[in-house]
Symmetry: C2
Subunit: 337 residues, 2 copies
DNA sequence: AACAGCGTTTATAACGATTCAATAACCGGA
DNA sequence: TCCGGTTATTGAATCGTTATAAACGCTGTT
């Protein structure tokens, strides 16, 4: 593969001049510049990023580690981050930790070894001890969606408690006095917060909120819970459920529909995340939407702030407010006769 | 940040020895090795990947460009490729072209500039001219899922025609004589092939196959088609539909269910891709599954084959066979009275 | 004719690792 | 005691680029 030296030889100039053509073209006489450009295209010269990174001391990339690439939440977040990175001509290296702490650790090491300018990370569990080392050695890190507790790091997240409040308020305002929360396990911080938010609203409104814990956040996990609900006598049944995410909500919708309940007539449903399927469901689903792409943008901005001026930079924990998207699954219907 | 020189100084050895500890520990006396290791951990030394890549002439990574990270097909494919790369201690750099030719081009350039050992690519449209340059300059490329026509490149793909045959055979064997194919646009190679496969089977069996073209492969796109179907008089209605993907199939399922048809009693449904939702649908969906992870594995293996011995390597086009997963949506039911 | 000033170009020293030939240290055997 | 043969360690060259200080060639002034 052609090197800068080959280009220089072909253009009859020194390598310094070629480097100038590449990095500060205005400093090179137009005729020379043209000659060098010609040599570059003729040889198909592609600069060697590693050599550049070596002199510069850092590479022109930032790292992004997410627990699930498949999840549109993180895909959108990545888009947001990329957008900001593009403005600086930086590449975002995307890694999928798949919720495996081992993978997270490995990628962290790789990114550090590549001397990335900074790292955006959704930590798998607690923030690894290894992370503190990375930060101590000088690579800025911004936490995504989790671990906002860390005061010595920047982080961005969405307020799940507010999300819970939005959902519950929406239902209470529509006259529901007996709600159910479906979700779990409660060890997942997000789930617990969403419940807490809902609880605060129902308590204040004097409404009833029963809690149905599931083992996970999948369609399948919703089945058991929903079957139980649907088979209760109407008087004993909540008139609305708030699900910790849209998959659960879809599961509930499917199951109770099969059990011949009408949605929203017999049971109103609110989901969380506003995935693409929410709008496309048999009964379009009311859901709580998080500003995903903005989350990524702001995270990247915080990171660059720290990169640009590590001294003056003060760590910030940015919390976004979610938004409720009302659809048919909570529409007020004429009371059944 | 600590360099190899700092480590050498602290351990009282030369940098050559430190390098040996890192790359061929058995060549270093145990006592020295221990001393160096201690220095490494004490200083938190992390080797500089760019410096390594510079001497080596290539980095320890391969690139993977997919059109949609959100799509589980590509996520699984990535996992397969990673698995193989891990065995060689290589990192997979994942890029999401988002079907934008501009992004694809940019990433291709970045990967080449990083001197990756090879590239796995799902080309957005036709194979870009730029790609030939990349290949000509010596970076091996394997095409994923598309562009198998190129005889001068390796590629892996799944036989969509066989997929169509599987689906149609399954339905014909269950006694269906009037089928419908739902999908589109037919400019998408995969869609056209699936239809062609189905057609060959129905023709051979003397069954009827009507074609309902949709504008896209989404739940929403299925609505119109399904509504039309459901409202036809039973005699004029196909007894089974084969959808070009699972999203369409789910849309059809939802819509015809709402129109009071029973699945599979009144209408059997076969999807394609076997996404997670297929099994979790109201009526679990029969679907054609592609060996996604294996696709990634084999692609990576082909790439490494070429990397290891570019001279002897002969380009191959590997085509996998899909598999039909039978579920409730095509179960044979007692004929309605 | 000498020189200051300017715009271009060049030579060279980094950057942080790996590699490999050369050297040093050590051992047992003659 | 010296030697051949290991085994361990070192020093220097090298990778491809950027940055920088010095050199160069003109022009216009004095």
């Amino acid at each position: 593969m052609a090197t800068i030296e080959d280009v220089a030889a072909r253009a009859g100039v020194s390598i310094g001049t070629v480097s100038n053509v590449l990095n500060r073209p205005q400093a090179v006489a137009p005729a020379t510049r043209a000659r060098v450009q010609a040599a570059i295209t003729a040889l198909g010269y592609v600069p060697h990023a590693a050599a550049r990174a070596l002199v510069a001391g850092r590479s022109r990339t930032i790292g992004l580690i997410v627990p699930e690439v498949t999840n549109p939440f993180f895909a959108d977040l990545a888009r947001g981050a990329e957008e900001v990175a593009d403005d600086r001509d930086l590449t975002v290296m995307l890694y999928n930790s798949n919720k495996a702490p081992g993978r997270e650790l490995r990628f962290l090491g790789q990114l550090e070894s590549q001397r990335v300018q900074g790292i955006l990370l959704t930590p798998v569990n607690q923030v690894a001890e290894a992370l503190s080392d990375v930060v101590a050695r000088g690579t800025p890190v911004v936490l995504l969606d989790r671990g906002s507790g860390h005061r010595n790091l920047c982080s961005v997240a969405v307020d799940d408690r507010v999300g819970g409040e939005l959902a519950a308020t929406h239902l209470v305002e529509r006259g529901h006095r007996h709600l159910a929360f479906v979700g779990g396990p409660f060890t997942v911080h997000q789930v617990a917060e969403r419940l807490a938010g809902a609880r605060s609203v129902t308590d204040a409104a004097g409404a009833r909120l029963e809690v149905i814990e599931t083992t996970g956040l999948t369609v399948a996990a919703a089945r058991a819970a929903a079957t139980g609900l649907a088979r209760r006598p109407a008087a004993d049944r909540p008139t609305a459920v708030f699900c910790a995410n849209d998959l659960l909500a879809l599961g509930v919708l499917q199951t109770v529909t099969r059990e011949r309940l009408r949605v929203p007539g017999d049971l109103a449903i609110v989901g969380y995340d506003d995935i693409a399927f929410a709008a496309a469901a048999a009964v379009p689903l009311t859901s709580v939407r998080q500003p995903r792409q903005q989350l990524g943008r702001v995270a990247a901005q915080l990171l660059f702030e720290e990169i640009d001026d590590p001294g003056r930079h003060g760590h910030r924990q940015v919390v976004f407010q979610p938004e409720l998207i009302a659809r048919a699954s909570t529409r007020v219907t004429a009371p059944a006769s």
